[in-house]
Symmetry: C2
Subunit: 356 residues, 2 copies
């Protein structure tokens, strides 16, 4: 992409989404704009709320546009109803900008459901793919020098049932994202299954295995099991949205159970409490390593524009990362890559089918 085109990158940001919005969003956007060039941000939200924050955090004004809207969707609103009733909600206005080709990407730390539904309503799918994949970056062991300490899980809830074709698209999209956005040169892709052998799982998984193993654009390591997600050794884990959602939430449950157990052990016994206090820096280092504030956000892939979900608890640093990682993905032409790879996968393996 030439430098001139680079200057035209437009990242729409839902200024009202997330637990710490709008302040964390405005501050994160200001930091991102100061740190990197070649893009501008559209801050979508209530201008009366945004104006004083812009005065305080001082983003470069020539690279910020405010798009005013009164409405927004709260985290705890049922997304389907909210998306129908609040047509001028900040996240939907952002999706409209993508649909009209007036922005290249949308970042939101608000409701995931509203973001997926908003994108589905306003943004066309990449030709040849029928379903979007919601990705999540979950922490893993680092066993080898090449391990990043996280794995991209796709899908974690956008598409509950998948076809072999859709799984092959998720593989392509997930690998392309890691390459373009996070600089993982040759992402290793695994297919989530109940055993390593190619014959494991149902017909869909067996068919997907046979396609993935022949795909040229990815480094397919074969089937992986539930234990391989936290174990690491793979960069992308492809699965249906139901299983991915359960896996993602297991992480949440295990983490909070571990914290509770540590707290109880600390109260139960003086020496145990001392042990936990001694380990606190190690735990903090672990949390930092696996901190969503560094990854930027979780992409929702399959749309013609890039849609990025930042964590609901994002602080300014996490928003800054989300915006910078989104910029990186755009600069490296993520969408162009995905579009051409999906077309190639479809031609090679699904010549008869169009879409899924």
């Amino acid at each position: 992409m030439d430098p001139l085109a680079l200057h035209d990158l437009r990242i729409a940001v839902d200024a009202m989404g997330g637990d710490h919005a709008p302040e964390a969003v405005v501050r994160g956007v200001a930091e991102a704009l100061r740190e990197a060039d070649g893009f501008r941000c559209l801050l979508i939200g209530n201008e009366r709320a945004l104006a004083p924050l812009i005065a305080r955090h001082k983003p470069p004004l020539s690279r910020v546009d405010i798009v005013h809207t009164e409405e927004f969707i709260a985290m705890d609103e049922p997304p389907k109803e909210a998306v129908l009733q609040k047509r001028r909600a900040s996240v939907l206005v952002g999706a409209e900008f993508l649909g009209r080709n007036e922005a290249d990407a949308l970042v939101s730390a608000g409701s995931t459901g509203a973001l997926v539904l908003g994108a589905a309503r306003h943004v066309p799918m990449i030709p040849g793919t029928a379903r979007s994949g919601l990705a999540a970056l979950v922490p893993t062991r680092r066993r080898a020098a090449g391990d990043r300490g996280f794995v991209l899980l796709i899908d974690v809830g956008a598409t509950l049932h998948v076809s072999p074709q859709q799984l092959s698209h998720f593989a392509t999209m997930g690998a392309a994202y890691l390459r373009a956005a996070l600089g993982v040169e040759t992402p290793r892709v695994g297919l989530l299954n109940i055993g390593e052998e190619a014959t494991k799982g149902d017909e869909t998984l067996r068919a997907a295995y046979q396609i993935l193993v022949k795909m040229r654009g990815i480094d397919f390591v074969g089937n992986v099991e539930g234990k391989d997600v936290p174990a690491g050794g793979v960069d992308v884990v492809v699965c249906d949205g139901f299983t991915g959602n359960v896996v993602l939430k297991m992480y949440e449950g295990v983490a909070s159970a571990a914290i509770d157990l540590a707290r109880e052990a600390g109260r139960a016994n003086f020496l145990w409490g001392l042990g936990i206090r001694l380990l606190r820096p190690a735990l903090a280092a672990l949390v930092r390593k696996t901190d969503f504030a560094e990854y930027g956000g979780a992409p929702i892939l399959g749309f013609e524009k890039l849609v990025v979900k930042a964590h609901g608890r994002s602080n300014a640093r996490a928003i800054r990362s989300a915006v910078l990682v989104t910029r990186e993905a755009l600069v490296n032409d993520l969408l162009g890559q995905i579009t051409s790879e999906i077309s190639q996968v479809n031609e090679t393996f699904f010549a008869q089918a169009s879409g899924q």
Copy 2:
């Protein structure tokens, strides 16, 4: 069940299954027979290997029968092929005893796949149910006095795709097992889903929710998510075998990642190492609490006879528990309860359908 009938209980035990077979099996059986009365054991395996172990561990000889067979199936053999080729393998001979009504239950610490396939070949299903459910007991937080520190997850791999009817049978079978075998008076049952609302998930899950909520024999708490499995607060989690298998293996992966991380932290820093040493008794207590050696084993439900998978790493104590828990389940007429509850569920909700 009257005391006379109790004396007729016959538990077949695969003497050749598991990492520590046959010694741990013979010793565990001897301990179980000494500890409780009213049942006898059929030890199935190579009599040349078993004779010296019986001489050493001295089970009450009047309550032990040896059934000789030369063949057995190793843990790492592909189960489908092994079951076809080794027709006299100890686990298959055990399943034949069930099929001929010459034993009431079968316990094996050997290959899960071979046990499920062997049971499916030789043991009829309970009338009105078409698929077996493989259960697993996984550790959880204890948040309330009633919490046992584990949850029974069913299915974890016997049946990859399920119907609403099959899910309702899993719920009944899992709850009945906890009542009969482990004394959980009113097991709370949850349906694994991607959200708590009744409208979450696909058509199968929405239909299953509507049935479970109306079922009289169980205490249905609603949908539970991945995070609720380790969090506790529910006794039975019902799911399809694919998702259950992934969840079960996630546990394995998280546990081994945590151990590795602790070891690394201990090496990286003297104070962290000290902290981990101080916490070792707490960790040991935690492991004890969640130790499979206490639960006895994981039932495979849906057959007319009780089939129990003991952990592959079972020592004598774990085999002893598996046999005693199996005895407990038989004494409390688990199979009679499941049979009558399944018939009731089918009559109430699936009057048209027979089987699934």
